[in-house]
Amino acid sequence: MTDKKPKNVFKQGAISSEFIGESIAKHQTKTSIGAHNIFLGQVRADVIDGKTVSAIEYTAYEDMANAKFDEIREAAFEKFELTCMHIYHSLGTVKAGEICLFVFVSSSRRKVVFKALEYIVEEIKAQVPVFGKEIFKDDSHQWKVNN
């Protein structure tokens, strides 16, 4: 580990489609890139015991989470020939239908980005201390568990 403070991956609230669009546009100057791949995690309105999820409220052990995101980023650059990679995760309330996770990888070739994106998303789900509280329409809640 280096002494460098890891980048902050978290954004307050949902990740907007404008933000995602602008992120894509910013890469037009990087002309060695031939392939982008994007994962967008969206909050599902799951029905559990007859109650519908209206939002997820995210909290995190932020320092450890940012350090883990950094480790995942380093490992992905080591494993795959990537030109660049961006990860954003929401904190706070994200309503059903809104985006809570945005992972964006770019490379000169397509095969690399297919593999890299799956690796990064699976690592995020398994390694990063983020906690989702599913809020139901009647204001009761339960803690989400990743499958």
Partner: protein, 77 residues
């Protein structure tokens, strides 16, 4: 040894705090857990991992005095 402990998610609901400072007499994570179980009996039935200085540790790990965190199952993304 005085240790700062952070609680998250479901665990913070059980302890009713997000953070506290505790005095622990033993040397290991297991000693701290014993102290926490007697203070918060409901913790025994909960699924969580312990991080020390932001790394996951086992019950047999020695307490270093650095920050501890009780982390329920991760559910990011």
């Amino acid at each position: 040894m005085t240790i700062n402990i952070k609680y998250f998610g479901l665990i913070a609901e059980v302890t009713q705090h997000e953070e506290e400072t505790m005095n622990v007499s033993g040397r290991f994570i297991s000693d701290l857990l014993e102290a926490l179980y007697s203070k918060y009996p409901d913790l025994k039935n909960k699924d969580f991992q312990v991080a020390q200085n932001q790394e996951l540790v086992s019950e047999n790990t020695e307490l270093s005095g650095q920050e501890l965190a009780l982390l329920p199952p991760f559910s990011g993304g």
